[in-house]
């Protein structure tokens, strides 16, 4: 219990630091945020009024307190371009990003886990060598480039999947998911590399452990030794990487969503940059970093459940 509290406190400090960093990034931006928000038609009086309303006329430390207070109320600001609260804009775009990330992680795991285990088991063999090279190759491919090629082959030439978008107003859930097959594949293949390598490394660690050797000496079948004893123990570090990859995937999703014109959070951020819509960039940054911190915390808690020995 003390450990949980400790971790919770750690998470909160990191979260606090994240907020501070975002505050600094946004304040670094050149130009007057009030003028930016009101657009070019605004009169100087309007700008001054908004500056006062936003507290921009206050010294930085007070602005910082305002910023924190605003966040505490759950207010992420207001989008200039979309003319709606940033929180609802993000919520509107959450679905494609969530499922894209989920499918990509499933695809990546489906490739990485068996390959990683096999590779560790046959360490140094031809299979292992090819896997090592292939994972490096996969990690070297820009996901947007792979996406462009997948669109050409599977959507345009073969016509198996939609080219772009996320379906119209009445697209069923299934139809929407159909739009995610190609992007999730592009993203999943590229991110499978990291999970494969980590699975392999973790498996190597445990395959050398005493209890695995004991199990083996007791005449247990190889498959059972590998799966039951070794893999079970390698699972924790692998889960960590799967979890962290999920968070890293958001990065890949930013690019992939743009290639496939998916109306997700990543696409929103990229448009926001082109539209100079700073509140949206700020809000997205905060929310995504917060999710990452939460996932991290979740993984720590998972450790605790799977392996109670993990206690400081």
């Amino acid at each position: 219990m003390r450990y949980v509290l400790q971790r919770l406190l750690g998470m909160l400090t990191v979260m606090f630091t994240v907020v501070t960093i975002v505050f600094i990034i946004v304040r670094v931006a050149p130009g007057d945020p009030a003028a930016v928000m009101l657009g070019p038609d605004a009169t100087p009086a309007d700008v001054e009024a908004l500056r006062v309303r936003l507290g921009l006329d206050q010294p930085l430390p007070i602005q910082y307190v305002y910023f924190l207070a605003q966040l505490a109320r759950g207010d992420l600001g207001h989008s200039i371009f979309l003319d709606m609260p940033v929180a609802s804009a993000l919520l509107d775009r959450a679905e494609p990003t969530f499922f894209l990330t989920l499918f990509a992680i499933l695809i990546a795991s489906a490739i990485a886990l068996p390959v990683g285990i096999m590779s560790a088991y046959r360490r140094g063999g031809l299979f292992d060598q090819s896997v090592t090279t292939l994972t490096m190759l996969a990690a070297s491919i820009p996901s947007f480039w792979l996406g462009l090629i997948l669109i050409q082959v599977f959507a345009v030439r073969l016509g198996w999947f939609p080219v772009a978008g996320y379906g119209g107003p009445d697209a069923s859930f299934l139809a929407r998911m159909g739009h995610l097959v190609l992007p999730a594949t592009a993203l999943g293949v590229v991110s499978s590399a990291l999970i494969t390598r980590f699975t392999r490394a973790s498996m190597l660690d445990v395959l050398n452990d005493d209890y695995v050797r004991t199990a083996r000496s007791k005449g247990m079948g190889e498959f059972r030794v590998v799966m039951k004893h070794a893999f079970k123990n390698a699972l924790i570090p692998v889960l960590t990487v799967v979890g962290l990859t999920a968070a890293l995937l958001v990065s890949g999703a930013v690019v992939t969503e743009t290639v496939f014109s998916l109306p997700g959070v990543g696409n929103l951020v990229v448009s926001a940059v082109l539209r100079r819509d700073y509140p949206v960039i700020q809000g997205a940054l905060l929310v995504i970093a917060a999710i990452y911190v939460l996932i991290n915390f979740g993984i720590d808690m998972l450790y605790l459940m799977i392996d109670p020995r993990v206690r400081y």
């Binding site: 070019p40 038609d41 016509g159 080219v163 119209g168 107003p169 448009s271 539209r275």
Partner: protein, 508 residues
């Protein structure tokens, strides 16, 4: 009056055939891929072809254009009755017109709408300067009294760009919070960056008779029209080929061969669609120096810009005149400085103008891919003339916001269709970003606007064209044809610079 736009290519021909071969069926949904998202759906305050194309489905004006680009009545009963001195225009309104919210349209709404238009719309302001009185005579009659005769009045009232749309008086505010109009379709749902969903407006009262361009009857065959913003041109092409979009707007010309012979889509070529232009900042920064504007004019090579932007020679014409062959406004006056591509002369002119080596900031957008390509070619030619260049690439909506700010740019790129009246040409008034102010121009424009004799107006226009080349407030790049794609199932559709989907229907 004006030669109608010529529809070229296989597509046009086969389309005419389909119109006759298939019966018009009611029902169906069309997906229209547009070049991007819009900041606002208010067609008065903002301009732009995309905005006009989308909003004309739910907002209507008193007048519009028929297929021969003559002004035709839409919400007005007929053309205005004009007093002998050309100053008093009396407009009778149609009766029984209802807005999407169910309220009836009366002269009160029209007067309130026109008042707003005169105040906030860039084209409305042109009229406002000349306005004496705007009043409702009775419930269905409106009277506009001018200080002087103003030839382009009805054309301005008819235009869907900076449009004099009629809104319910009670919904009128500084910014529109609801988009309620009288059009054949109304907004059901808008998801930014995803779609704008329009559904048939059952209370619509169409004009009698047959469709005639934007005028005449407006049929409501389709149940729904969905405008899907697809900023990436390649995605619009692939989506059309895959059958995802029934109509895909403004495609890269290179895609023509790929679109040809497809099952689910076909290319559509609109000849003499319009003209791209480089607008120079006449108000602030280095381009206020006439010598530097002339240097840019001398440096640019239109042929290369057009070829890079539009690929096949059938898709563009190297033409310095502001109206192409076939328009009564056509004139070759003063076009010698066009298409020089002369870096040495440009260098000299720049040096004379005291060019200090600061980069020329070219504001452009990739949403119109051809703008961006012309910008890149222009940058190379300007560099060859010793001028530094900085490309500021933003999305179109942002460009429209930023170009209003004189401190932010030196040149921006836009394009325009060939407009029925030169008075409609955007960069002529000094209020348009670019802010071309010149005594010689003001004199000629006043003459153009007050002269009622069509032939004399043509002569005045040709003087204005000459002045444009002398003062170089902007640079016309050339003429281009536009490529779009439509589903073979989409019938009753007329290609246009501002495609509209009333009158269109889907066949099985």
């Amino acid at each position: 009056m004006l030669r109608k736009l010529i529809i070229a290519g296989l597509a046009g021909a086969s389309m005419l055939a389909t119109t006759q071969a298939f019966a018009q069926e009611r029902g169906g949904v069309v997906n229209v891929a547009t070049i991007g998202e819009l900041t606002t759906l208010d067609p008065m305050t903002a301009t732009g072809d995309l905005l006009g194309m989308v909003t004309q489905h739910f907002f209507e004006t008193l007048y519009t254009f028929d297929k021969n680009w003559n002004v035709a009545p839409l919400l007005a009963e007929g053309l205005p009755e004009v007093s002998a001195d050309g100053k008093v225009h009396t407009i009778k309104l149609r009766q029984g017109i209802v807005f999407h919210d169910g309220t009836a349209m009366t002269s009160e709404d029209v007067v309130a709408s026109l008042k707003r238009w005169l105040e906030v719309a860039s084209r409305g302001k042109l009229v406002a300067a000349n306005l004496d009185k705007l009043e409702a005579v009775d419930d269905y009659t409106v009277r506009i009294t001018l200080k002087q005769p103003f030839a382009p009045l009805t054309a301005l009232l008819a235009f869907n760009n900076s449009a004099a749309v009629v809104l319910p008086s009670e919904k009128i505010g500084e910014t529109l919070s609801e988009y309620v109009g009288t059009g054949p379709y109304m907004i059901k749902e808008r998801k930014p960056d995803q779609y704008l969903q329009l559904v048939r407006f059952d209370g619509y009262k169409s004009r009698e008779g047959e469709p005639d361009g934007f005028g005449g009857a407006r049929k409501q065959y389709l149940d729904e029209i969905r405008f899907v913003p697809v900023p990436d041109a390649n995605t619009r092409v692939e989506g059309a080929i895959a059958g995802q979009y029934d109509y895909a707007d403004l495609l890269p010309v290179e895609a023509f061969d790929r679109l040809n012979g497809q099952a689910k889509t076909e290319p559509l070529v609109l000849k003499s669609f319009g003209w791209p232009m480089f607008i120079m900042n006449n108000k602030e920064g280095m381009m206020t120096k006439p010598g530097l504007r002339k240097a840019v004019q001398a440096a640019l090579n239109s042929e290369d810009m057009l070829a890079a932007a539009f690929g096949k020679p059938d898709f563009f014409a190297v033409d310095g005149a502001l109206y192409p062959e076939g328009y009564q406004w056509r004139s070759d006056a003063g076009i010698e400085p066009y298409n020089q591509g002369n870096p040495d002369k440009a260098k000299e002119l720049a040096a004379e103008a005291g060019y200090d080596g600061k980069p020329i900031r070219i504001l452009t957008s990739r949403q119109y891919e051809f703008h961006y390509k012309m910008a890149q070619v222009a940058a190379e030619y300007l560099k060859a003339a010793g001028l530094a260049v900085q490309l500021d690439v933003v999305d179109w909506a942002t460009l429209v916001q930023r170009r209003a700010e004189p401190a932010l740019w030196d040149i921006f790129i836009t394009h325009s269709p060939f407009l029925p009246d030169p008075a409609l040409i955007a960069p002529l008034p000094s209020s348009y970003p670019g802010w071309w102010a010149s005594e010689a121009k003001d004199k000629l424009v006043v003459a153009l606007n007050t002269e009622m004799d069509p032939e004399k107006r043509v002569a005045i226009w040709s003087d204005i064209q000459k002045l444009i080349y002398d003062e170089a407030p902007f640079y016309k790049v050339g003429n281009f044809n536009a490529l779009s794609a439509k589903s073979p199932k989409l019938g009753g559709f007329t290609p246009s610079a501002w495609p509209y989907f009333w009158n269109a229907y889907l066949t099985k």
